[in-house]
């Protein structure tokens, strides 16, 4: 127990140390971008992500990188900062296919580049859906735009304009403020070079830099336009990155659950609980912060739903554990949560974590909460059923006869999870109908998103009824828990990313099809394999 106690103290102090994080004034400078007032830190992260694919560059913070883009764009010519992933695009631009990032010049000065952009414009004018190739071209165009506009100072809008809704960019600042901004950049250069060289006066120089930013802020009046606490909270959210820590804690919990499961040690389970509880606290904290920052329940895009489903799976696993006293549930829940949060963090281009303004139709917290939260929480229960089903298949492959109790418990857990899922998705669909009736004027219109939610519901209802007639027994239940989740994946991801049709256009995105298809295929193969193993065994006995 001593170890666990120490662990709690350690985790807590780690958390506190992050709370005490000292913000750089530059990071919390309010800027207007993409319909939001956000701290410079968020802006810098988003732009660096677009160009480079990460929110840090060789250990340097995004805000530092973006500032140097503005001050000395020519110094960046020799750096490989432009991420290009599409192989066709690489080929046409004569770029090495095994390299991920490139210098700007070989791309944008390549003789084929204007032709590619013309091709993209032609495709856009035809109003046809952009294929992955054209999406890659679009990203390239965007990368070029972002880099040149930041370098020219036109993209960074820092001064509120009383005459207009649009803020004034650095390039268009009146002369008085130009010189104040110059002070900011000077302060930044002095501070950063002192830091790099490890000079003794680096603390004073850093304070100078902060002071220059403060002077600029109050002079242009942007400190009046927005609450500085909100800016600080957002930078804290960026810097602390609670979901990342939660992913780590879930991962550790998963490892200890696995230790406890394989080696049957109780200390493993206890340690796992410490990590699990820390993970849930971090998860809930991150969730609350994001709610506060966006002002709506965070279920408006793919990224947010993935994070929400992770939490839901843990909550359901916890509730079911309380009633069913079955150790597989939390193992399964932790598997789902770890998987979801890792995905959410590692696929920034597909799962965009940045906070974007909402489509007009979604600007209703009431409906968002009751319809979208209910539907997505049912995904969590089905995901849990799938994870538990995976464990069940593992036992079937390992040996059915020796693991009868485990298989029974797992089949029962899958069954309960599916019941919970159905109990949420059915009212969720009905509520969706009510919302659709209320805002689009029809209760049911066979829109692909609603249709696939219905198909998922029908699939699970068929499983529940099949169980009643005896069509589905333990193996059937476990296999359905795994297999029927493909329907949820289609409804959750497929409609937006594969079909790309219908009225739920605000959630559309692109990319990742090969991974998702792989995920589904692996599970289907697992079911088939377990089935074959079972049949072989039945024959031999």
């Amino acid at each position: 127990m001593v170890f666990q106690k120490r662990l709690v103290v350690f985790m807590f102090s780690l958390f506190i140390s992050h709370l005490a994080y000292a913000f750089n004034e530059m990071q919390v400078l309010p800027v207007q971008h993409a319909g939001r007032i956000k701290p410079f830190d968020s802006f810098a992260r988003e732009q660096l992500e677009i160009v480079y694919g990460k929110t840090q560059f060789e250990g340097r913070s995004a805000y530092e990188v973006i500032l140097t883009w503005m001050m000395t764009p020519e110094a960046w010519q020799e750096k490989e900062i432009f991420q290009v992933q599409n192989l066709d695009v690489k080929k046409k631009l004569g770029l090495k296919s095994d390299q991920k990032r490139f210098k700007g010049d070989p791309i944008f000065s390549h003789e084929a580049f204007p032709g590619l952009m013309a091709e993209l414009n032609g495709k856009r004018e035809s109003k046809e859906k952009l294929t992955p190739y054209f999406q890659a071209l679009q990203r390239l165009e965007n990368q070029y735009f972002v880099f040149t506009e930041i370098a020219a100072g036109r993209m960074l809008k820092v001064m509120p304009d009383p005459q207009s809704d649009t803020w004034v960019s650095v390039a268009d600042l009146p002369e008085v403020h130009q010189s104040e901004f110059m002070e900011v950049t000077k302060g930044f250069i002095a501070s950063i070079s002192a830091e790099v060289d490890g000079k003794a006066d680096r603390k004073a120089l850093r304070e100078n830099f902060d002071q220059a930013v403060k002077t600029f802020k109050s002079s242009v009046g942007s400190d009046q336009a927005v609450s500085s606490t909100d800016m600080k909270i957002e930078v804290f959210f960026n810097e602390f990155h609670p979901f990342g820590w939660a992913a780590l804690a879930y991962g550790l919990a998963l490892i200890f659950f696995l230790i406890a499961w394989v080696m049957n040690r109780s200390w493993g389970e206890k340690t796992a609980y410490v990590f699990l509880i820390s993970a849930v606290i971090l998860h809930v904290l991150g969730f609350s912060l994001r709610c506060y920052l966006t002002g709506h329940p965070p279920v408006t895009n793919m990224y947010e739903t993935v994070v929400w489903v992770a939490l839901g799976a843990i909550v359901f696993a916890g509730i079911l554990t309380y009633y069913m006293k079955n150790r597989f549930l939390l193992l399964g829940g932790t598997m789902v949560a770890t998987f979801c949060l890792i995905i959410a963090d590692t696929a920034p281009i597909i799962l965009d974590a940045s906070i974007q303004p909402l489509e007009a139709v979604l600007r209703s917290n009431y409906w968002l909460t009751i319809h979208v939260l209910t539907i997505t929480i049912s995904y969590a229960a089905f995901f849990l059923a799938m994870a538990l089903g995976d464990l069940g298949l593992f036992y079937f492959i390992k040996g059915e006869a020796q693991h009868k109790t485990e298989i029974k418990a797992l089949a029962q857990s899958v069954y309960r999870s599916i019941q919970i899922g159905v109990a949420f998705i059915a009212p969720g669909i009905l509520l969706g109908g009510v919302w659709a009736d209320y805002s689009w004027g029809r209760f049911w219109g066979w829109d692909p998103k609603e249709t696939w939610a219905l198909i998922a519901l029908l699939g699970y209802v068929a499983v529940l009824h099949g169980r009643l007639v005896g069509l589905i027994k333990d193996f059937g239940m476990i296999a359905s828990g795994v297999g029927a989740f493909s329907l949820v994946i289609m409804s959750w991801y497929g409609v937006n990313f594969v079909l790309g049709a219908g009225l739920h256009t605000y959630g559309f995105g692109a990319g990742g099809i090969e991974y998702v298809t792989g995920f589904v295929l692996v599970h289907i193969l697992l079911i088939v394999y377990a089935w074959l193993v079972r049949r072989e065994r039945a024959k031999s006995t």
């Binding site: 319909g35 007009a360 059915a426 009510v434 004027g441 049911w444």
Partner: protein, 471 residues
């Protein structure tokens, strides 16, 4: 006799019972549920590749979908009857299944008797007609090209039954007949003017106006005369260019008038407010002359004494924002395409026929006036944050329709669906969706009953629900 009757009654009853038992089979239920799922899934793929209309017509509202749903309803009803006499413990199960039946019937009523259309109203004007998804063909005839009478009105559904050369849709006119012979659901049309041999066709001129000193100031236009007797004109900034019989030489604008004589173009220039021609030229293709106004030069690119308008069509596999449906007409061995919501003129020896292929319109019997349309964007970008229409109907004035806030009037519901911008991005019209849904009550009742059933299900099972031993 009475004895005999009872036995007969008994066998009948048991036959009915047995039939119900069969129809109530859970295996049939599982099969039907899966079938509905598969059909719906196919529908979504049809929608992704061919669009909403095709998915609705070919899958969701098709006869075989109705048959599947019919089997499902019979199955659900039989299950409920099969449990007779009902006990208290059956209530959850019965309510849940009755709820589903109500929802399906409600949806069927909506499809059958409901109205689901859209209305585009320009800001400041009013509209009275709702456009729906169904299409129709109307044929008008005239002997003097002035007064038209309607010969035919027929509902057509080219998506489910497209006409072909072998199975055309034929309409009989005075002497000849004409036929619809091909349906193309996705074409991108481009107007094209081509030379014609027919003396009744008007002329067409393609010309260029250039100002050599200003690079941007140049335009290439067609001026096309719809028939040999009409006056047609084009307004280009402060200049009017006209063709055909000259309406009036005196206007408050400068005017160029085109007339074709012996393969040459006679161009007459009139200064504004002056009936006397200022200049006159006789030009051929390729000639250019300087105009007096603002240093512009006129260049004649193409001259067609007789021309007609036609469509240059690009055929696509699937829908985009630019595609429209089109249907091919065969008349006197001539093939012509007519687009949806467009018309085509056919000429016989002594009559003119107008073929109109269009979406059906339903008259509301009262006008809806769009007083204003307001759009609020997110600060600094053009993305819409909120938009609303301020409308007036006979009994209600200045009602605000916004996203999630419809107007209910005379059993109809008006929703804010979308809007249209001009080239500058300024909204010019609001698009409202107009609905009448007679199945709404049944669907809501069904939803409530079904939810009640689910809640009761948990209530009755709560004791055994969480124990894993018994089930």
């Amino acid at each position: 006799m009475p004895v005999l009757k009872t036995t007969q009654d008994k066998t009948q009853k048991s036959l009915f019972r047995r039939l119900i038992k069969k129809m109530a089979s859970l295996k049939l239920a599982v099969f039907t549920i899966c079938l509905i799922g598969v059909v719906s899934a196919i529908g979504t793929f049809v929608e992704a590749s061919l669009g909403v209309q095709h998915a609705q017509k070919l899958v969701y509202r098709s006869y075989w979908m109705m048959i599947v749903m019919g089997i499902f309803i019979i199955n659900l009803t039989s299950v409920i009857i099969d449990r007779w006499p009902w006990e208290k413990k059956h209530s959850s199960f019965i309510l849940a299944h009755i709820g589903i039946i109500f929802i399906i019937l409600g949806q069927w009523m909506t499809n059958q008797y409901g109205l689901d259309g859209t209305m585009r109203i320009a800001i400041g004007s009013s509209g009275q007609q709702v456009v729906i998804g169904d299409t129709e063909v109307q044929i008008y005839s005239s002997f003097d090209a002035q007064n038209y009478t309607r010969l035919y009105q027929q509902n057509v559904d080219f998506i489910t039954s497209p006409p072909t050369l072998n199975k055309p849709l034929t309409f009989q006119l005075e002497k000849e007949a004409f036929q619809f012979v091909e349906y193309a659901p996705f074409v991108i049309p481009r107007r094209e003017i081509v030379a014609s041999e027919l003396p009744r066709d008007g002329m067409a001129v393609r010309f260029q106006l250039i100002n050599p000193s200003i690079r941007q100031a140049q335009m290439i236009e067609w001026l096309y005369q719809r028939s040999a007797h009409t006056s047609d004109q084009l307004e280009l900034g402060p200049l009017t260019i006209s063709m055909g019989p000259l309406k009036s030489a005196v206007t408050d604008r400068n005017q160029l008038h085109f007339q074709i004589q012996d393969q040459k173009l006679i161009v007459t220039a009139y200064d504004k407010n002056n009936p006397e021609p200022a200049q006159r030229w006789k030009l051929s293709e390729g000639d250019s002359v300087p105009l007096k106004w603002m240093g512009f030069e006129l260049k004649i690119l193409r001259l067609l004494p007789q021309a007609r308008e036609t469509w240059d069509l690009t055929f696509k596999e699937g829908p985009t924002e630019l595609t429209v449906p089109a249907v091919k007409i065969l008349y006197k061995d001539q093939e012509q395409w007519v687009l949806l919501n467009d018309t085509l003129k056919l000429f016989s020896d002594n009559a003119v026929y107008i073929i109109a292929y269009s979406q059906k319109r339903i008259d509301l019997s009262f006008p809806v006036q769009l007083k204003n349309f307001e759009m609020e964007t997110y600060k600094g970008i053009s993305k819409a944050k909120e938009y609303k229409s301020i409308v007036s109907v006979p009994d209600i004035s200045d009602h605000v329709i916004s996203m999630n806030e419809p107007l209910k009037y005379k059993g109809l519901t008006f929703y804010q669906a979308s809007f249209q911008n001009d080239q500058m991005g300024k909204p010019v019209a609001s698009i409202l969706s107009v609905n009448y849904d007679p199945g709404r009550f049944l669907k809501y009742l069904g939803s409530t009953v079904m939810s009640l059933g689910i809640i009761l299900l948990f209530y009755f099972k709560r004791s055994s629900l969480w124990s894993s031993k018994k089930d």
